[in-house]
Structure formats: C-alpha cells, structure tokens
Symmetry: C2
Subunit: 544 residues, 2 copies
C-alpha cells in the first residue's frame, strides 16, 4: 500500500524588532498550537478517510441503465463452457440465484444461466476485493442479473450445488445489470424440488422443512417459474417436438401451410367455438385447421402440415384440456389405402421419440429430476413395430379385464387409461394405435368403412394410455359429405366453401391432428398439460 | 396385320338309293336354304355385336368411391419423373387440365400435378383402346382427377404446352377418381396468364381475346385459384421463408416458443384489437407476441422466436394490410449494444434471400412467368454489405430529392416508396435498414437513445421501398417502462403481469417482428399481399 505523503515543510521569513519578536513569538506559539491542533485534526481525518477509502470502488456496484451507450466487443462466455476454461479470465452475464456470506470477508454466489449454474466466490484481497465489495455482493437480491469478471479456478472438490462441478469463479469485478424490485413469489430452489406430491409444506428425507410451490402459484408467477432448470428444459423439448415434426414431414414432401384462425362461420361444432366481434359483424376462432387443410388438398397441395394455435371453448377444467393449444396437423392424398397415412403418422412418432431421446438427453435428465417417471417406451421395428389394435380388439381387451361390454360403445378417459395399463403389461409399450372406430363416434367428414358402414376408416394414437392424435380418411365426395353433414344436423350451406372444394374435384385423402402439449406432457409425464404450455389458457386463466 | 382364316372345306358323304336320293336332295336343298338363312342371320347379328362390343370396357370409366377397399401396392410415379422413364409403363394420379379430341379416334389430354404437366394421348388401337374409350376421355370435365396407366414415349418434337416437353404418355387405361360437379369459376389457363394488368377481357400480342381473372374472383374461388402453377410455387416459397427463418435462428441458439393468442387485456394499442367472448367474460386477440416474447426473456430464455398468427382490427383496405397475418418474431438478450440484434436480423435476411434464390430457382421462375419483375437485389458483404441509414439521413435523401422537410416528421407510405426509388438509383439495392427513429414514432416499450432522448434505439427494414420489419431495443427497467406507458396514456396496472416481469430482473434485450406475407410479396413482387396468403383475411373477407 502506498503511504500518504506529508506536505513539504514551510520556509521561515527574515527577522523583525524585539517587541515585535515577542508579539510574533506569542503569535507563533498560538499559531503553532493552532497548527498542531489542525494537523492533529487533519491526521485523524486522514486516518479515518484511509480506513474508509474503498480501493475496489470501481470493481463493483450498480450500472447506469443499459441504453447501448458503448460497444467494446468484449468476449462473453457461457457458464456451460466454464469447465474448459480453467485458469482463464472470463466475463459473463448471469442471474444470481442465491448468495451466502461467510463472515465479512467472503461471499459465495450461485450464478445461473438457464439449466447451467456455477459457484462464484468474492473474497477480500488487498487492492482487488474490498470488504465493502464483499458486503455489497452479500446484499444483492436473489434473481438479480449481474455482470461478472473473474478467474476460472479448479475446485478442490466437486461442487454439488451447481451444474458445473469441477471449477468455480473467483470474482474480480461484479456489476448489477438488473435488480429485483419487491419480493420474489417463491425461491427458485423451492420451485425446483422434486414433484412427487404437491402439498404446501413438506419435509424431506432428513426431516428438513421447506415449501412446495403449488401449480397455481407457479402459473400466477409464470415468468419466475419458467426460470427453473426443469422449465428451461421442458421448453427446449417443446421446441424440439415441433422441429422434429417439421423435419420429418419436410423430408416426406409435405408443404407447411398457415390457415386463418378467423372464420366466417362456426365450423365443425358450433357448441365449443369462440365468437369474435369483427368490425360490424362476427367471426369465429378456428377449432382446428381441418377444413383449411382439406381445402389445400382440393387445391392440389398433395401433402400439407400446419403448426398453429387451435381454440376450444370447452368449459373443461381437467389435467389435459386447455382452451388454446398448439395443433400439429397434417393432411395428405391417399393412393390406395388410408393405412398409407396411418403408417406415415406412425413413422413420424417413432422418429419423434427417437429424436427426443437421442438429441435431448440432458433436458430429459433435468426434467426427470423434478418429475421422476418410468422412461417412455415404444416398440421398434425389430421388436415387431407399433401395436395396432382395432377398436373391437381394444374393447375385447377391456372386457377380458373385467369392464362390462355395455359401457363400451365408446371408451371413456378412465377406460382409456385402463387400456393403457393392460397394453403396457401385455405388450410392454406406452405407445399404440387403435384403428377402425365406430362411425358414430367420429366427425361428419370421416370416411365410412367400405364393408361395414357402422365402422369408419379412422384411428387414434395413444401415449401412456391417453389420446394424442386423432385422424382418418376423409370424405372427398360432395354428395356423401352433404349426406353425413345432414345426418349430424349440419346444414351444408353453412359450410359452402368447404363443400364446394370437393365439387371441383378432390383426391382421396386423410390426415391427423396432434396436440403438441399432450405429446410433451405424456412423454415427460408432467401430469398436467399446463406445465407443457408457456402461458397456459383455460376457462379460468387468461393471464399472464 | 394377320388376315382372317377361311374355314376348312366340308367332306362329302357315301351315296344312297335313287328315290331316296331325290327326297334327300330336296330335303338337303331345303335344309341348305334354312342353314343359309340362319347363317346369314347369325352373321348379321355377329356383325352388329362386333360393332357394339367394347373390347376396352375394363380399361376406362368411373371408379367406385375410394373407401380404401383394396391395397395392391402398385408403384405410382410423379409427372416430374417422367422424362427419365422413357419406354416404361407407369401409373399416376393427375388432374385433367384440358382435353382436345382429334376426330373420333384420338384425344390429347393435358395432365397436371402441381407445377408439372405432361401431354397424354388416347388413341384407338384394336383390343386396347376402343372408340368408346376415346369418346369417354374426350368427355371428362376439365379439372377432374384421373388415374392413368400408360407408356412413356419420346416425343418427336418438344411439347410446348406442358412442363415435361421431351416425353408424352400413351394411355392404356384411365379411370375417373373424382369428377367436377358444376361449372368451374374460371379455367386454369385463364388464371395462369401473365398478370401485367388486371382487366376483365384482354387480347394477347397476337390479337387473341381471352379472359383475365380478377383478384376478387380468384379469392372467392381460392381452391381452384390455388391450383395454378404460380400459386403452387408461391406457397412452396412461403413454406421456404418459414423454414429458412427457423433454420437460421436454430443455428444461432434461439428457442421456438408458442405464446397465447387469447389475452386477458387489450394489449399494446386498444384501438385495433379484436374482442372475443370468453365464457362469461371477454378476451382479446394478441396483436403480436411482443409482450410474451419479452416475458420469455425475463424468464431467462435468452433468445426466442415465434412463427404465429397476429391479429389487427384495422379497417385498412390496402394492398399491404390484412386483419390476420403470420408474424415471424424474435427477441434476444443484448450484451453491449442493440446493434447486436440489428446485425443478427440483417444476417438473417441475407441468409433468407440467398436461400430462396439458391433453393427455389424453379418456383421463382414459375412465379416470374405470371408476375414479371426485376429480380430482387441486395448488397452482399463483398459489396460493402447492407445499406444502413439513420432516420435523419433518410429524411435528408428525401429533402434532396425535393420533398419538403416540413412533412417529414414521419415518413409516410408514399415517401417510403420514394425513398426506395432514391436508394435503388443511388445504391443499387432493394433492401436497406433505417436506424434511430424518433422516439415519438415508436411504441412505449422502445428504449430511448442514451444521448438524444428524442431519438430511440430502433430500426425498420425495407424491401422494395416498403417496411417488412420493425424492431428495437426494449426498455427492461420497470420504472422507465411505467413512465413511458403513462406518457402514452396507458395505465401500467392494465398490463400488470408484463410490468411485473421486469420487476423480477430482466436482461437488456431487443428484437423485431417480420410480416411473412410481406416478405414473400416484395421478394416476388406480387403487388398485393392477399396473393401471399393461403386464405387471406381483410375487413371484408372472412371466407373461404
């Protein structure tokens, strides 16, 4: 440390008269006394100041609001890269998950980026890190965003509290980019605990008490909830499902389309459609791209898919219903048989399952820590391929298991799940297809079976005993279509453009619709569809 | 040709008595006369039958409704493959665009699949193609769907009326899969003519009269209109824009998100929002994913994009406005400067332009035949890169061109286009960026310039002199955000979840929103945005 220099001594003036000398001497003494006093005071002040001077003042603190004032092109790193940067000085932006002070000279920070975290250490060091700096760091609110400069250093032992376990960061500078204004609704640690049962307060195996965060609390504060490693991983996987869906279909000659969500008439089923005020009239929100994608087939698109929102005005408050969800829809022409479509869809799902397992190992593992689940299983081609049952065979399995045949005109949700368990026990798969549904269970545009008109050329796909896809060959003949519409109480004129499309010639075709969030929910066993939606919508939730 | 063989001569019987001979002779003559008579009758009947029997009866005709009755796994080919199949027997499904009979023994068919077409010939041949078959073929309605069996045969001269010019198909069997019930609204040939001016009736260079098809007529009968090679190509290109957008962003570490279109409150601007009846209350349709994507940033997603519909209740009936269109939106954190976002967006557009030009040559050429346009130009890096003007520089260019500075507080559509022409003449590019818009022209969430508070950290991107992207650095500080909201007359409490997201700590960030249909329209110079939308929606159109 550099000592403060004392001022150079003052030079004396030439001698004066005796009387004056006396007077001067007196005055001098008084002045000396005064000076001494002043010097003492000054010294005390200097000592006090020296103790207060913060040699690290420019190495920490809040920053002015980031308005793109400057651009230095400093390299910034990711926490996930740190293991390979041992011994290097790095700069990175991160969220402060928690801080833990050890006395007044040291503070540990847990810094987070998405699913990655690292331990950082701010420790007093002469000229570098001051006590004031340590104190300030210990006071930063959890979940603040900070800019950290530091040295990556091998950790003597694995750091269990972070995802990067072999290195830690010795902080040299730290600045606050964005703080937290108010109380957090819950801590990220509480929100990240394994979700075996959702009760308000629980103890862990060692008897410690901690808070569980209820789903509603999470959804009310979704922005904070989405920061958990689990949610970061869930939405990486959601994007993955969409990407794998499109890549597979692109490779099979499909064209992506975007059909309008605003419709002139209530389509498919009037009961569950949302009404929109449209200038001086009304419009309705599409319940699916069904009509549009069939019209695209009549317009010679041959093979189309769409990834888009679908809207259902159903007042269902269940674990698997939302009023708005993402539909993964496809439609394609048929050459000889609708099983061409069913087989392509099966191929699509196997490609999807394999793709998720191979390309998203890390994310699946992260989700599994919070939502422990038996790994999702399916039958590969060398295992005989996907199990395909007819509706009749599915009913027979349920009857053999003790369900009364009388209640099996349709298979309700409860029996669907039961069938899932029967199939899992007997065939060792979480994924199967039911083909040839009774005609009366399907929408008017479904093609009847050529031999038994009470059956139809339609199928559902299941994951963990719940439906995730519904599809069929469609009626491409306008006369039969109108007949079926009338038999379901729909006036063909109310869907004139749709019926007209088939009057202008249309190839035989079929397709299916997949619920994106359902696929994700059942693959990961999230137990509630809202967990698979960024900002879920149900009859009681429109915000955030 | 093999001649018909005459029957072998009959052998005579040994001789009987004289009287008997006489009687027998008489009886013989009578029998011969009878036999002759019967033979003549038989012959006449045979001749008549021969004329009526259709030896090709099972080679043509309507089929029963396709209900997936059988599955033979017959290989079917694409018209685009036919050039390479000279001499082979093929089967394919196609649309009959037109037929032209030559006398009673031959008919030419123009068969189409999407942007591909081929000439087929049905010509009388003994035991193979009958006159009846030719007659039936000549009577099939245009735009019917047929299944054709035939022999691919080299054509003696290039067939100008088809996209496959070197071979034709000699038809051996042809079946009607789906006919046309009623009159076509317009012929595909009329709908495919070069679109230089849209008038009802026009003549071509050789003085022939033909019908032009008006845009409204097309949109009213969109399913037939979409079958033109131009539209088939336009929507291949539309899918291409989406694919290139996602591929680029996936490669840059972005995550695709899906944000809800149903909102609890009228966001951004209350005036142009659609109201939805939501059970016992109301909801509103999202005018953009702006709030959701910023909230995803506050939730640590770091870099997100969304491809989804956006809704604008603006009563604008212009060539470039729709009430529903596809938004290509992105948002990302900023490290040092918002130009990081602007430069990534620029990189995205160059990748998109290059990708379209390289991967969609055929489609661009097909569209160019109907919509002739100067090829879209941009400045590659070796040409100095994209032109970036500040708003002030853009105004100066307009002033130098004679526009009064008084009217240039904002640049209206007319002056935008004028600027596009000035820039094209001076810099030889159809694509440029304007940066640093005045604060008062931008939405409340725009970050002000750090030096001049009347300016903002915001930009627009232009193609052929019209805006296709708007973006900016956003305000991530809740205090400044609320101040700006109030200054625009918005009560922060009305968007509480959004404001709260920034209270919980949020990284500096920026982004932009692109109109998919606009990009397509300006790249291809389609002149009206409705042509770039599958089933466009405007204040007057909700159907089909």
């Amino acid at each position: 440390m550099a000592d403060a220099q004392s001022p150079p001594p003052a030079e004396g003036a030439p001698g004066p008269s005796k009387n004056e000398l006396k007077r001067l001497e007196k005055a001098k003494k008084a002045a000396e006394k005064e000076a001494e006093k002043a010097a003492k005071k000054k010294e005390a002040e200097a000592q006090k100041a020296a103790a207060e001077v913060d040699y690290a003042a420019q190495f920490y603190g809040p920053t002015v609001l980031h308005q793109s004032q400057t651009r230095n092109n400093q390299k910034r790193v990711q926490i996930s890269e740190l293991s390979g940067l041992d011994g290097e000085s790095v700069i990175f932006r991160a969220r402060l998950q928690t801080s833990r002070a050890q006395g007044s000279k040291m503070v540990f920070l847990n810094l987070r980026q998405r699913t990655d975290s690292v331990q950082a250490l701010v420790s007093v060091a002469p000229d570098k890190v001051s006590k004031q700096m340590v104190k300030w760091c210990a006071g930063i609110s959890d979940e603040s965003i900070v800019l950290v400069h530091g040295l990556v250093t091998k950790s003597p032992e694995p750091i269990k509290s972070a995802s990067v376990q072999d290195v830690e960061v010795h902080v040299s500078q730290i600045f606050l980019i964005s703080g937290v204004d108010g109380r957090l609704p819950f801590s990220l640690e509480d929100a990240s605990r394994p979700d075996t049962e959702e009760t308000a307060v629980e103890g862990d195996a060692e008897g410690r008490q901690f808070s569980r965060v209820l789903l509603d609390t999470r959804l009310n504060n979704r922005v904070v909830d989405l920061r958990t490693p689990t949610n970061q991983a869930v939405f990486k996987l959601q994007a993955g499902v969409g990407r794998l869906f499109r890549e597979f279909l692109d490779s099979k000659g499909f064209t992506e389309i975007h059909s309008p969500k605003l419709q002139g008439a209530a389509t498919e089923s009037g009961a569950s459609v949302f009404k929109v005020t449209y200038f001086k009239g009304n419009a309705f929100l599409a319940q699916s791209p069904q009509l549009a994608k069939q019209m695209a087939i009549a317009a010679d698109f041959e093979r189309v898919y769409e990834v888009g929102p679908v809207f259902r005005a159903e007042d269902s408050n269940t674990h698997r219903h939302m009023t708005e969800f993402m539909g993964l829809d496809l439609e394609m022409t048929i050459e000889e048989h609708y099983h061409e479509v069913m087989e392509l869809l099966d191929d699509l799902f196997l490609t999807l399952f394999r793709g998720l397992r191979e390309q998203y190992k890390k994310e699946i593992a992260v989700v599994g820590e919070q939502f422990p689940a038996e790994e999702f299983t399916w039958l590969e081609k060398e295992q005989g391929g996907t199990l395909k049952l007819t509706f009749r065979e599915a009913v027979d399995l349920l009857v053999a298991d003790g369900v009364s045949r009388d209640v099996l005109d349709d298979i309700n949700t409860e029996n669907e799940k039961r069938l899932g368990r029967i199939v899992k026990a007997k065939y060792h798969t979480d994924y199967f297809i039911i083909d040839k549904f009774p005609m009366e269970l399907r929408p008017f545009y479904t093609m009847p079976d050529p031999v038994d008109p009470t059956l139809s050329n339609s199928y559902d796909f299941f994951m963990r005993g719940e439906e995730i896809l519904s599809g069929a060959q469609r009626i491409h003949d306008p006369i039969l279509l109108m007949e079926k519409m009338r038999s379901k109480g729909i006036e063909p004129d109310s869907m004139k453009s749709y019926v007209d499309a088939f009057r202008m010639g249309c190839a035989p075709h079929g397709g299916g619709g997949i619920g994106l969030e359902r696929v994700l929910m059942f693959f990961l066993k999230l137990n509630n569809i809202r967990r698979a939606s960024l900002f879920p919508r149900d009859p009681k939730r429109l915000d955030p």
